[in-house]
């Protein structure tokens, strides 16, 4: 079975974000990069499927050439090869991104049985690229999946909703977006790193499109610093907390 996982290079931020002087991007000079948490689960799912059923796992990303670093890291945990659609480093809007991904997928010799996305990107969370790709490729799409089994050409998926689990299925080929909790993603081993250096990363170019969802600026969300009232140290402070809980009605 041939699986494709779509990834996005995102900064690994600390406790507080900083913006660039023009307020158009996150200041990343102090930050490293990784992929979105849900995407780690996507790659892990792909690796496990290929381990169980054979076939190939291809990674696809759209981003700056530096995104090769993220692709190599994921190749190190067991993906077969990767494709990087190189941008000028600017963020692309969801429609443009989806169109470029679709072009790249159509340009592949492999016809993928399963395309996996993370449920949302850490930085932008537009909730739509997977659906746009599904429409363009005329494939069924199941989102927010936290449990997945592939049997006899059918994807059996569960998503968690506030009051339980919903079971879905779709015949392959299909698109699935997965959430953290689907599995426990593995980290690379040194031999994995060494193999990853020899794997292929195909570089592609894509035409820049005029964004329809056009980012103007970014701003930090208003600080929620409430200036916590320190009730005291250790168990001695418990009576004070009990008073607070009474006040707010948590204890009748």
């Amino acid at each position: 079975m041939d699986v494709l996982v779509c990834l996005k290079r995102v900064p690994l931020a600390g406790g507080t974000l900083m913006l660039t002087p023009d307020s158009r991007d996150i200041e990343t000079k102090h930050l490293g990069f990784g992929i979105s948490p849900h995407e780690e689960n996507a790659v892990e799912a792909g690796v496990q499927l290929v381990e169980q059923m054979g076939g190939t796992l291809t990674l696809l990303t759209l981003g700056p050439s530096d995104a090769e670093e993220q692709l190599r890291s994921q190749l190190a945990i067991g993906a077969t090869r990767a494709v990087l659609i190189e941008t000028d480093g600017q963020e692309w809007d969801p429609q443009g991104t989806a169109a470029a991904l679709v072009d790249a997928i159509n340009g592949e010799e492999t016809k993928f049985d399963l395309i996996i996305f993370g449920a949302e990107s850490a930085d932008s969370a537009g909730y739509q690229i997977h659906i746009r790709v599904a429409h363009a490729l005329n494939l069924p799409v199941i989102t927010n999946v936290k449990s997945m089994k592939i049997e006899n050409g059918v994807a059996h998926c569960e998503r968690v909703v506030p009051n339980g689990r919903e079971h879905y299925e779709a015949p392959l080929p299909a698109i699935v977006t997965v959430r953290d909790g689907l599995n426990i993603p593995r980290y690379p081993s040194v031999p994995g790193r060494m193999q990853a250096r020899k794997k292929t990363v195909d570089m592609k170019k894509a035409e820049t499109r005029i964004p329809k969802l056009e980012k103007v600026t970014l701003a930090l969300a208003p600080s929620k610093d409430k200036g916590a009232q320190i009730l005291g140290k250790g168990a001695e402070a418990v009576p004070a907390l009990v008073d607070v809980l009474k006040q707010i009605g948590a204890i009748a």
Binding site: G15, M18, H30, L31, G32, P191, R193
Partner: protein, 839 residues
Amino acid sequence: MNKLPTKAQCVVIGAGIVGNGMVYHLAKLGWKNIVQIDKGPLPNPGGSTGHASNFIFPVDHSKEMTAITAESMRQYKEWGTFTQTGGIEVARTPERMQELARRITSAKSWGIDGGQILNPAQVKELVPYIDESVILGGYYQPSVGVVDSLQTGSLMREKAIEMGAAESFANVEVLDITVVNGCVTGVVTDQGSIESNYVVIATGCWSPKLAAMAGAHIPLTPAVHQMKDIGPVPFFKDTKGDIEWPIVRDMDVFMYERQHGTGLEIGSYAHRPILYSPEDLPSNATAALSPTEFAFTQADFDIQDEHAFELMPSIVGDENVREKYAINGILSYTPDGMPILGETPEVKGLWSVAAVWIKEGPGTAKSVAQWMVLGDSEIDLHSSNIARFHEHQKSQFHIKARVDESFNKTYGIVHPSEQYASNRNVRLSPFYEVEKELGAVFYETAGWERPFWYESNKDLVTKFGEKVMPRTAEWESRWWSPIINAEHLQMRESAGIVDLSAFAIFDVTGPAALAVVQKAALRQMDVAIGRVVYTPILGPNGGFKSDLTIMRLDSNHFRVVTGGAHGMADKKWFSDLLPEDGSAQIFDLTSSFTTIGIWGPKAREIIQAITNTDMSKEAFKFSTCKIIEIGSLRVLASRISYVGDLGWEFYIPIEQGAKLWQMLWDSGKNHAMIPVGIGVYGTTGRLEKCYRAYGPELETEYTVVEAGMQSPKLKETDFIGKAAHVKHRSEKPITMLCTLFVDDHTSSTGEKRYMLGSEPILSADLQPIVDAHGRRSYVTSAGSAPSLGKHILMSYLPTELAVAGNRFIVEYLGEHYPCSVAEVGATPVFDASNDRILA
């Protein structure tokens, strides 16, 4: 939390291992009202202490570094935060095996015992997960261990608080350091100002930023050290606690591996140098991990993965052993690799304790605290003195260039004479071009390019044949040439001209000038105008702070001449003695004057031929100076010698230097005068005459009496260190500086080997020689004495053993060579009666 005080005896900025150590040791030495602040939270404010690998190899070729490390280990043990694990440095190449032997030798010199060379099978026995087929052997040091630096820091800080001597405040950011009339007056923080006459910068890689607030310089750069933690390792699954297995340093690939719980930590100094600016470091809030832990850049570690795989395939090659944690950790690097300690030369009361690693932290803190409170430290810190930097060495360009060059030498094999290649040709003498044409091979000191020898003298090697003591072994031929010894012999026959432009020169003038130089100098400075006095400069405990020459040019005018390398520290020493009322001043004339020396039996004839001044023995006495005319040039000539022959130093304004050189050169032609490099001036000429040098022989730990330099009569006027010196004079010295000859140079392979310095002197049964103060005997300086056909070693020996003819063993690169005492004390082994100098 308590409110930030508005006044303090001392403000310590930083709460890493160094800042905490400073607070504790200052409190222990009796200071009160110490206020410690850090912009980060406690106990881990986010500096380099927080991500350190925390292991200590107590071995270094530097005596100073080893002493500080040993003292730090002692303290860690005292706090109960040291775990001894043993450590092995493995070698993959024959060059490294030789280097490991040299490291054991250095360790022995500095009092670190127990090191042994192991064969691959023995290494495997200690570290079963090594593939012994990739190594040639290893150096096992049982005393290696791991410390908990964060806990140690907390314990020290809490102790100081408990003593009632200190308060500590986290999350306080320094916005400014205030200075009035060159003296620090306090710090301004985001939570108020604190007045204080002492401010200690213990902020690691942020130090330059804080120093700049006060207009001072701490020339270091933050640089990345990569670390990767992999696991869980099945082999380690039953290990208890943090560490049980020896730490392994894979020296040839600049890496280390240490077991850490069930994981293996792999660290590297092999990757490309990745330098930051202190301004580039993020705050605790914006950092992903901490301000000094940047995201790991795998591409820089690809080769290291392979090297680790080679050495420990059973662990690193295990597909199921995965990366748990990997960082680009920030460490502080300096342009010369040494820490930056002491009061800044720019601002009084502002102290730097920077570029100090975990292995040095507590020892450095204790030493700097002693320096602050008592005026001097027990351990000699001259190589780390912040005052050592010349202006160009404080530049960003220089710092980056040198760290870029030296980063990968962290585990490298560095020859003691190795020269930097980057940022050269910064200071050029007026004769530089002429020297280049003469085939000068330039070494650098204090930014100056100095000829070490001249290829144009190559024919002299043939002339003197075996007398040049040719070397065949690569190690001691590196950064050396037989031409040096040939130049020496020719100078002794006729004369040599030496470029001494690198001298640091400063004039002390004014009504209080005499008082200033008297205060600094051991020797009598109230001498006749025109006298030249060579004098040790002592610290408060009677140890050496420098040795230099002072000329009395007028009743209120003294010229201090000292070596370039130590010149800036000397300048600060004298500057600190200037009275507050302005009755004496110091002028740095280093860049105003150039100096040329001419020595040799023909020196007088060469000079007399071009001057009308009477240069005769009677008219121009030794140890005097006067202005002479050479052509149209008025030259300050000073009759002294550091090479043991008749001759003069000539001081001339720098723009007239070339002219003077030309006239001396032309006159010298008639007397077979040759250009002579610093190889002769600094080593062979000096050693034959048993002249001591500051650093190797003269340092804080030894006294004037032990160095054999006490004058018959004690100066009445007070001077720094006098009380201690008087005491030393009244006691029988427990050690004496001796000159030894190597009796047999033949190695086990039949090759003649020549020591380079720092080797241990051992008893006949190969035991270290230790004096009553616990000081080991080691070679302070080594070099050829071509006139005698001998290889000279200088060493302090316990007085009872310091007897001419006594035989010892010197250990060199793991082998043993017999040597014997030629002279005890300062009597020269060549021309003992000084007839040549006084001719």
